[in-house]
Amino acid sequence: MILDKYPAVLQAVPGGKILLTTTDDFINLGRKYSIWPLTFGLACCAIEMMAAYASRFDFDRLGVIPRPSPRQADLMIIAGTFVKKMAAPVREIYHQMPEPRFVIAMGSCANCGGPFHDAYSVVKGVDKVIPVDVYIPGCPPRPEALIYGVMELQKKIMRMKLAKGGGATLQAEKGSRDPAGGA
């Protein structure tokens, strides 16, 4: 029964067949189960991301379906080594995605440069270029970790409020987004 699944979100009217909810909860519920990530991998972490999409781990059951165009995507998974030359294209793709848009930094490379922290060519963290919602540690993180990261993002989405800040997400240019989902 749907009421058992979402006790805090939905309430039944006594004696009736109507379910009551708030607009925020209703919209967030829809967003939460239709996170469409951009098909986009940069290095070895992308192999684990592909595994997460494939049948053994089956991302589809969370409503995570890869999209080939940034115009149709909600989520950008930075899976791999993020080099300085890639910074400008990634910023452009990020701005082509419609709001609300989310970013997951997957793997040590995307978090902080990882094994290439001393290299001349690698950006020391995606949050130097675009805002990041969820950081997943690991080199590479297993598909379970990526799924867990998406589940954390879902929790974050459930805390979003339509009324504040005009849109749903913080209008940050870069850095880490407020983990409490403040905006």
Binding site: K84, V122, V123, K128
Partner: protein, 190 residues
């Protein structure tokens, strides 16, 4: 055609060429004496010996270990060790291995019919590294030479478009040189 025949053919027809003291693995390796010999040797390899496939152009910077800021020295003293190991000065003997202030350029040619491989080596000064481009003979040399220019600063005279190919435009210097000092930019750690 055997590798001995290839080697002797090149040595006989290119003046100043010698068999390299330290060959690349056990491939025939020829050390040229001056940059102007390179087109002669490449033309001989391509037109007469059938090496029509330029596999690789690269370089080695033989300058010894230099400590540049933010990077580890060649040998990091082991913490808590009774005595830190001394820095090696000349790690190995032989004219091709000792540290010295030169750029050692390397070309690899393949013969797809006989499955033979030949390496050419040429030392140039680190101050003004300049060699003739092979783009006229091998179109594949184009990007390889641009990469060697980008990472080592070697000028290939006669190259139609000798510009950066890998590093971003704002990166100053040639990162694979041993004395490269990185200028931190907006993407580096604070």
């Amino acid at each position: 055609m055997t590798r001995e025949k290839v080697l002797s053919d090149i040595l006989a027809q290119v003046p100043g060429a010698s068999a390299a003291a330290a060959p690349v693995k056990d491939y025939p390796t020829v050390r040229l004496s001056q940059p102007s010999d390179l087109p002669t040797a490449a033309r001989l390899l391509k037109d007469e010996l059938g090496f029509d496939y330029l596999e690789m152009v690269t370089a080695v910077d033989w300058l010894g270990p230099t400590k540049t800021e933010g990077f580890l020295p060649a040998v990091t003293p082991i913490p808590f060790a009774a005595k830190a190991p001394a820095l090696p000065v000349t790690p190995a003997a032989g004219p091709d291995i000792a540290y010295r202030p030169v750029l050692d350029l390397l070309w690899s040619f393949g013969n797809l019919k006989t499955h033979l491989k030949v390496f050419l080596r040429l030392e140039v000064s680190r101050e003004k590294p300049e060699v003739p481009s092979l783009t006229g003979l091998f179109p594949a040399a184009d990007w390889q030479e641009r990469e060697t220019f980008d990472l080592f600063g070697v000028r290939f005279s006669g190259h139609p478009n000798l510009t950066k190919i890998l590093t971003p435009d704002f990166l100053q210097g040639h990162p694979l040189l041993k004395d490269y000092v990185h200028q931190p930019d907006e993407f580096d750690a604070d």
